[in-house]
């Protein structure tokens, strides 16, 4: 009887159709987050494809401790991190930022300031930011994807907000003085 109960509790692995459904529904969000983390269009795209391929290979190890989508997010994040490291070691700083001269209008420079500030955030905060704003995940899903506590997500996002707010305020003040 006990054995039968245990057998009942073993979660079924996701089918290919389940994974494909998440892939197709969330493709643009996966792509956007992976690009932001991997640092480029091609490595981002590569990370999404490779992340899902890894998920398919590992689907029998899925334990349903979080939702399938959350688990797939963690697979894509891992692939994006790997892709970024490989990219860094092979190709230096392709597409590094270009700064305008003093006469350029405010918006592009403000975005450049924001991009700089985002890139200076600790890696975990940056990933949480992307998952929150690009993927529109709630705190619980972000926690599941990054394997951290929900409270950690809240605290880290608050810290990231403060850093970015200060950065933008400083830049806007500076622009007004000019």
């Amino acid at each position: 009887m006990k054995k039968a109960q245990e057998a009942m509790e073993v979660p079924l692995p996701p089918t290919l159709a389940d994974i494909e459904d998440v892939y197709r529904r969330g493709f643009s969000r996966f792509l956007q987050v992976a690009e932001a983390i991997a640092g480029g269009v091609e490595p981002g795209s590569e990370a999404v494809q490779e992340g899902f391929a890894r998920a398919i290979r590992a689907r029998f190890a899925f334990r349903a401790e979080s939702s399938l989508e959350t688990w797939l997010w963690s697979c894509v994040l891992n692939a994006a991190r790997t892709s970024r490291i490989r990219e860094r070691s092979s190709l230096g700083e392709v597409g590094s930022s270009v700064m305008g001269d003093a006469s350029i209008d405010v918006l592009p420079l403000r975005d450049a300031a924001l991009a700089d500030a985002v890139s200076c955030l600790p890696e975990r905060q940056r990933e949480m930011l992307f998952l929150r704003y690009y993927a529109d995940l709630d705190y619980r899903s972000i926690a599941g994807a990054l394997d951290v506590e929900v409270g950690t997500v809240g605290a880290a996002l608050a810290a990231a907000h403060t850093t970015l707010r200060n950065c933008l305020t400083r830049w806007l003040d500076d622009a007004r003085i000019k």
Partner: protein, 281 residues
């Protein structure tokens, strides 16, 4: 979502906009070594493997693993033979003219070496090309990486006097640009860039008040109206080369032959770095 979060969300989306790329599920399946999938509409279905794998199943997987390892070994051996051929093929072209990670060059684009030199034991080249969308592109690369792009860096921007295409970004033509990179195994940290032709020197100011004076040189045709500069950043001028932030100048000024400032660029403050007093104000 608060107003502040909405604003942040909008700005973040502007940094990495969503693209209209189509999903490629078949590619995912191929990468996962799934070759026999019945196609039923958009969603392909495959039966679940039983949760409790039997001995036969484990044996089958082990055989598959051994076969995979054999295939990987064969592939590695094949690569050893193929690699010199590929390397020869690459030596015929610049890495950025084939890469899809950088702005596409205009049709029949030619790369122009605008400066070269040697820092320590490593030679380098500063090369430009005209892009379809991003104006003048500059790429700095180790001498031995012109074909592979290994250790290269690049930045692009519309520049004064460089012809625009119908698809060039609608941002102003710049009068001075810079491209900075941290130290790698091949090259020290450096700053290179382009400046208008009446600047014989570029002064680079850092947040801690230090200023580098870098001479410029005229570009070859068709870039005679642009001057270029390149300077390594030793440990003493960059502070900490690993931090990245300290390599970023606070301002750059193009200085003419009569020591007058002909163009100036103030960079927005980043992180906790306070901009130094610049001659641009």
């Amino acid at each position: 979502m608060t107003h502040e979060s909405s604003e942040l969300c909008l700005r973040l989306h502007a940094l990495t906009p969503r693209r209209d790329e189509q999903p490629d599920w078949m590619d995912v399946l191929a990468r996962a070594d799934i070759t026999h999938v019945p196609m039923i509409g958009a969603a392909s279905v495959s039966p679940n493997r039983p949760v409790n794998h039997g001995r036969k199943s484990r044996m089958r997987r082990r055989r598959l693993l051994v076969n995979k390892r054999r295939m990987a070994l064969l592939a590695a051996l094949a690569l050893v033979v193929i690699t010199p051929v590929v390397a020869l093929g690459d030596a015929n072209g610049w890495w950025f003219l084939r890469s899809n990670r950088v702005p596409a060059p205009v049709p029949d684009a030619n790369a122009t070496v605008v400066a070269d030199g040697q820092w320590g034991e490593q030679g380098w080249k500063l090369v430009t090309y005209f892009s379809k969308t991003d104006g003048l592109c500059l790429s700095m690369m180790p001498q031995d990486a012109v074909a592979t792009g290994k250790g290269a860096s690049m930045s692009c921007a519309p520049f004064v006097g460089v012809p625009r295409t119908p698809t060039t970004k609608d941002t102003p033509d710049l009068r001075i640009t810079y491209l900075g990179a941290s130290a790698t195994a091949k090259l020290p940290a450096y700053i290179v860039g382009a400046v208008v032709d009446d600047a014989t020197e570029v002064d680079i100011g850092f947040a801690d008040g230090r200023v580098l004076h870098v001479p410029t040189s005229t570009g070859p045709p068709p870039l005679e109206h642009v001057r270029f500069y390149a300077t390594p950043l030793g440990a003493s001028s960059s502070g900490s080369q690993d931090s990245g932030v300290s390599l970023r100048p606070a301002w750059l000024a193009g200085v003419g032959a009569s020591h007058q400032i002909v163009t100036c660029l103030v960079l927005p403050p980043s992180g906790n770095v306070n901009p130094s007093v610049s001659p641009c104000r």
